[in-house]
Symmetry: C2
Subunit: 373 residues, 2 copies
C-alpha cells in the first residue's frame, strides 16, 4: 500500500474523519483512522461506534492531481498521531507507505515518521449503505433546519428520546422538532420530493453534520429502520436512530395571546447577558417587566446584589406583565430566529410563551417561564 | 463616595489590579478589589496576599477628562462582578456610587447594577513603600531581562528557592539567573546607577510584571529586606522575596567545548516540535545526531513508532556526537535567545551544553542532557 498526496487535502480529509473519533475510544481499535486507497481515491474512516464519518479524497480535483504513485491497500493508524504529523509537516506533498503490516511510513522527504499500524481487517464493519426513504436538500437549507432547532434538544440522558432531533416528513414538508421539556424549537422546510418518514436523530450528530463542511453543496439523507446516512459531496456520515417514541408536540404551540412584545434582538440579548451576570442564586433566571411605557430586565441575588436594564427600542401591547425565565433559553431562541426585531407573545405570567420572527412562519419557539418567589 | 469615569480607562485599571486577585482567594476579603477615589485619582488595589497590584487612574490623561463628579471615599466590591459589569456596559462613562455602606451602584444611565460592598477598613494593610536599594531601567530592557530567563525557573515547590529569579546587582551590572537544576538561563544588563543588591523574586511575579503593560515606559525596582516593589507608570506591584540562599551558579558555565552546532533557529524548533509528537515513552525526550555532513533529530517509542528529521541549514564542527535532551527545554532556550541562527556548544554526550546567540554575550543558557538506554 502506497500513495503520494497533496498535504493540505490529506489534512482536510483527516480532520473530517477525526470528528467521529473520540479522545477516549470505547473500542481501542476505533482510536485509529482507517486509511484505504482504492479506485475511488483515498477513503478515510473515523468512528466512535455511535457515529461514523467516511470521507473520500479523489485522485483529481478539477484539473489538479491530488494523489499519485498509488498502490492499493488499506491500514489503520492512530488518529491523533497521523493528524498531528500531517498538520505539522512542511512539504507540499506527503508519501504514505505501509512498510510491512505493522509499520506505516509518512514522509515529505525531509521528515520521516514511522507509525505502528494495525491490519485493516481488525476494524469493525460499518454499514454505510443508503437504504430507506431518501430526501435531498441544499446544505444551506439543512444548516438552517438544524441550527434553528437542535440547540433546544436535551443534553441529559434521563430521557434519551429528548436528546434527538425529531424529523417528520409528510407530503413534501419536513419538520424538525427539538425539546428538552422546558423549551421547544420547530422548523419546517419544503421538500422537492413527496416522501414520508419519521426519524429521531441524535441532535449532536445533526449539528456535527451541519458544520462538517464549509462548501456549498447538497445533502442527501437516507433514513433506514435503525440508522440514518447523510451524503455530502465526498463524505458519508451515519449514526443510529434514537429508540423510543417522540412526545406529541403537534398541538403544543398556544394561541390567543394577550401580550405582545416586539423589540430589537441585539439590544434584548445584550441586556439579558449583562443582567445574567448577577443571576447567581438561580442560574440565569431573569425577570422581564413590561408596560406600554417601559420594558425592564432585572435580577436580584441576596449574596451579590441586583441588576436592572431598561430597553429603549420596543413596542408592547397588553396589560402590565412580569415573567421570569431562564435567560440562556430566551437568548438562544432569539439568536436562532435570525431577525433584527423579535416578537415574543405571552398568555400570562406562568404560561409558556412564543418567540418568533413574524416574517418567518416556518420557525417557532416556545419557552416555559420559571416560578420565582 | 462617588465618581463618574471613562468606562474604557476604568476597565483597563480593573483588569490590571485583577491580575493579583486569584479565583480562589485564601482570605475571603481579598476576592474584592479595593476602590479608592482620592486627590491622586482612582486607586484600584488587588491582592492575593503574595502579590499586590495597585494602579492609579488620574483625573486627566493628556487633555482629556477621565474622572469627574468626585466625592472622595473608598470601598470593596467583588472583583469578578465589577470587572465583568464594566466590561459589558455600553456607555462611554460609568458612574460608581456607594449608596450606603453596603451597596455600590454602577450605572451608565441605561443599566443599573447594585453590588453588595464591604467597608474598606476590612482590607488588610499592604506596604507599598519603596524602601531599600532602587534601580531604574526601561520597560523594554526589563521585559528582555525577564523573558530571557524566568521560564527556566522551577515550577515545583520542592525547593522553593529555585522558583525565584535571582537578581544580583554589582557595580553597575544586574544579572538575572533562573534554574530548575536541569537547565539554567542567565542575562546581564548594564545599569545607569552603581548599586549593589541581591534578591530572589518569585519568577512568576517577574513574568507578570513584565507583561502587565503594553506601553513604553520605565520600571523602578525597590528591593527591601523582605519585599520588592516595582513602579511602572501609575502602577505599583509588590511581592515578598523568596527566603533561602540561591545556589552559586557563578562558575557553572563550562568552557573548552569540542563540538559546535550552528543552525537556523526556526528550522531547528520546527523539527523538534514535530519529532516530539512521538516522544511519548519519555515525555519530550529527543536525540540529536551530528556529523559534519548531517544533523538529525529523532525519537523512538515502542508504543507509537519513530520519527526522524533532517536539518538542512547548519554548520557542525567536531566528531560525530549523539546527545539526548528534553526538547521543551531546548526549544524554550532557542526562542529566548531571539536570534536567527543559534549556536549550541557541547563538551560530550552527557555534559551540560550551552545554547547562545554568538552576537549577544549578555545572555547564556545551559541544558543538561538526558540519559537514554
Amino acid at each position: 500500500m502506497k500513495f503520494t498526496i497533496n498535504r493540505e487535502q490529506f489534512l482536510k480529509g483527516l480532520m473530517i474523519s477525526a470528528k467521529a473519533i473520540g479522545s477516549k475510544s470505547p473500542i481501542p481499535v476505533m482510536a485509529n483512522v482507517k486509511i484505504k486507497i482504492c479506485e475511488k481515491g483515498l477513503e478515510l474512516t473515523g468512528s466512535n461506534a455511535e457515529l461514523t464519518i467516511q470521507t473520500t479524497i479523489p485522485f483529481m480535483i478539477e484539473d489538479k492531481e491530488i494523489i499519485r504513485d498509488v498502490n492499493y491497500g488499506e491500514t489503520l493508524v492512530a488518529n491523533k498521531f497521523i493528524t498531528e504529523i500531517v498538520r505539522r509537516l512542511e512539504g507540499q506533498e506527503v508519501t504514505f507507505e505501509v512498510l510491512d503490516e505493522t509499520i506505516a511510513k509518512i514522509s515529505d522527504g525531509k521528515s520521516d515518521f514511522k507509525l505502528n499500524s494495525v491490519k485493516a481487517e481488525e476494524y469493525p464493519n460499518i454499514d454505510l449503505e443508503m437504504t430507506g426513504a431518501k430526501v435531498q436538500m441544499s446544505y444551506a437549507e439543512f444548516k438552517d433546519l438544524v441550527d434553528q432547532t437542535a440547540f433546544a434538544a436535551s443534553t441529559r440522558d434521563q430521557r434519551p428520546i429528548l436528546t434527538a432531533l425529531n424529523l417528520e416528513a409528510v407530503d413534501g414538508e419536513l419538520t424538525a422538532t427539538a425539546t428538552d421539556s422546558a423549551r421547544l424549537a420547530k422548523k419546517t422546510v419544503h421538500l422537492n420530493e413527496r416522501c414520508n418518514f419519521l426519524a429521531n436523530v441524535p441532535a449532536t450528530v445533526m449539528s456535527d453534520v451541519a458544520h462538517l463542511l464549509d462548501e456549498n453543496s447538497t445533502v442527501t439523507l437516507a433514513i433506514g429502520e435503525k440508522k440514518v446516512v447523510f451524503a455530502l459531496d465526498g463524505t458519508l456520515v451515519t449514526t443510529r436512530l434514537v429508540n423510543g417514541e417522540y412526545p406529541n408536540t403537534k398541538h403544543i404551540i398556544p394561541h390567543g395571546f394577550s401580550y405582545f412584545l416586539e423589540a430589537n434582538s441585539q439590544e434584548l440579548i445584550a441586556a439579558m447577558e449583562r443582567v445574567s451576570l448577577l443571576s447567581v442564586d438561580r442560574e440565569n433566571v431573569v425577570k422581564i417587566t413590561m408596560t406600554e411605557d417601559s420594558v425592564e430586565i432585572s435580577t436580584k441575588s441576596s449574596q451579590v446584589g441586583s441588576a436592572t436594564e431598561r430597553i429603549s427600542t420596543f413596542q408592547y401591547t397588553g396589560e402590565r406583565l412580569e415573567v421570569s425565565f431562564n435567560s440562556t433559553y430566551v437568548m438562544q431562541a432569539i439568536k436562532a430566529a435570525k431577525c433584527e426585531d423579535i416578537t415574543i407573545a405571552f398568555l400570562g405570567e406562568m404560561k409558556p410563551f412564543v418567540i418568533k420572527n413574524v416574517k418567518d412562519e416556518s420557525h417557532v419557539q416556545l419557552v416555559t417561564p420559571v416560578r420565582t418567589y
